[in-house]
């Protein structure tokens, strides 16, 4: 066992750069997945079968196929269609799209959990459709599902290293570059691994507290 602290120190500048990219992907990816997930969830409830069926099929397909393959699909196929994005943008889109299919299920459960009386009250007050959603249903649903969404943000964090596969300069890619330059694999990779535990564990404690607090 030979652990070299100076290698850790040398890696730190790259580590910070990578951490910033990882967090950027996480924030933007979360926003995409939260927004798109809501769109899917509304699609699940559409009156027309011709909306419901495709939405169900697409989300099911995206949810059961690997993010890595979707990442490569977007990265290589979008340019063929004449759409040119940077690796970072493609990666963020892929992760947002992938997780939107999970958040969609969360929204679905949250919306279903709003008591039927609330819908009836909105009808009785003859609120227009968008007011029913924005003022009555969603505020109640969102409160319940906040912890579940939090869990998916943590899951998303742990999937950001996949973006190294299309050479986005996030934490894993930075550690690979460091190793390629210095031939030291142990320190950079271990630091990155430990960093993930140090971020993910407190985050999951936070979500658990939130869960308990919102339970009543």
């Amino acid at each position: 066992m030979n652990w070299d602290w100076s290698a850790v120190a040398d890696f730190l500048p790259r580590f910070w750069d990578g951490l910033l990219v990882t967090l950027q992907v996480l924030v933007l990816g979360s926003l995409i997945s939260f927004t798109l997930g809501l769109v899917w969830a509304l699609g699940f409830r559409a009156r027309s079968r011709f909306v419901r069926w495709p939405v169900n099929a697409v989300t099911e397909f995206v949810r059961t196929t690997p993010l890595l393959v979707q990442l490569f699909f977007l990265f290589f196929v979008l340019p063929e269609w004449g759409v040119q994005f940077s690796a970072l943008t493609t990666g963020t889109l892929a992760i947002g799209l992938h997780y939107s299919t999970y958040t969609a299920q969360v929204y679905r459960a949250g919306i279903d959990a709003v008591p039927a009386g609330q819908w009836e009250a909105a009808t009785a007050l003859s609120l227009p459709r968008h007011r029913t959603w924005l003022a009555v249903i969603l505020p109640q649903a969102l409160r319940r599902i906040a912890p579940a969404l939090g869990n998916y943000v943590i899951a998303m964090l742990k999937d950001t290293p996949l973006l190294a596969g299309i050479s986005v300069l996030e934490l894993l890619q930075q550690s690979r570059l460091e190793s390629a330059a210095t031939f030291q694999y142990t320190e950079p990779l271990t630091v990155v691994g430990v960093a993930f535990v140090l971020i993910a564990y407190p985050a999951s404690l936070l979500v658990r507290t939130l869960e308990r607090r919102l339970a009543h």
Partner: protein, 219 residues
């Protein structure tokens, strides 16, 4: 797509993906039951260690764990894993940690009286677990395990980054050879989708069977 690529890479790739899935699922199940049962153990130390295991392996990314086993373990331990084994180990250990939570939850959901009845009949803790608790807990675990198995299937795609020739890696090679991405990646996604479909269908059947054995009607 040329026929040679299909026969020499994609089909064997699918086979490797299936092998990875089966081997790492077996390891994950072993880890899940051991660690999950340990989390309901009487001794505080055992519970703590099992809890530590789940938090660490759930906390880090499966891909980083895979790289760590492949690149960091050799200089530390003095031996090198072949990529396939590093992959199985990483997938099994990290998805096992998720499985442990499922096992723990299901064991805790068995009514307390069942445990007490086992004590009253002076069963050993092992007999209690094997004869009373697990048979009732296992059917409850199946839907969650089904989801986890699909996640594990998706996780197997990560091994292509270590150069293991699974179906994702085959797709990468075919893309390099043919300079065409749309077709091969669509096929690859479909392969995963079909495997996932088989998994969910068979787990549904398994759930119905195990519940019927207990005299419970599956939803």
């Amino acid at each position: 797509m040329t026929a040679g690529l299909w026969q020499n890479w994609v089909l064997p790739g699918i086979w490797i993906t299936l092998q990875l899935l089966i081997a790492s699922a077996a390891l994950a199940a072993l880890v899940a039951f051991t660690v999950g049962a340990a989390r309901t153990h009487r001794s505080r130390t055992v519970r703590f260690l099992a809890g530590l295991y789940t938090e660490v392996f759930r906390g880090t990314s499966a891909l980083i764990l895979m790289f760590w086993l492949f690149f960091v373990l050799p200089p530390l331990a003095g031996w090198q894993l072949v990529p396939m084994w590093a992959a199985i180990l990483a997938l099994g250990l990290s998805y096992g940690a998720y499985g442990a939570e499922i096992v723990r939850g299901a064991l805790n959901a068995v009514p307390k009286a069942q445990r007490e009845a086992g004590v009253a009949l002076s069963f050993t803790p092992w007999q209690r677990l094997r004869l009373v608790l697990l048979p009732q807990a296992v059917p409850e675990m199946i839907p969650s395990f089904c989801n986890l198995l699909v996640e594990l299937l998706k996780g197997t795609a990560l091994v292509s980054l270590l150069g293991v020739g699974d179906v994702s890696f085959a797709a990468y090679l075919v893309r390099l050879a043919t300079q065409e991405s749309g077709g091969i990646y669509t096929v690859t996604l479909l392969v995963y989708f079909v495997i996932a479909l088989v998994i969910t269908r068979s787990m549904k059947a398994l759930e119905r069977r195990t519940k019927a054995n207990l005299g419970v009607v599956a939803k």
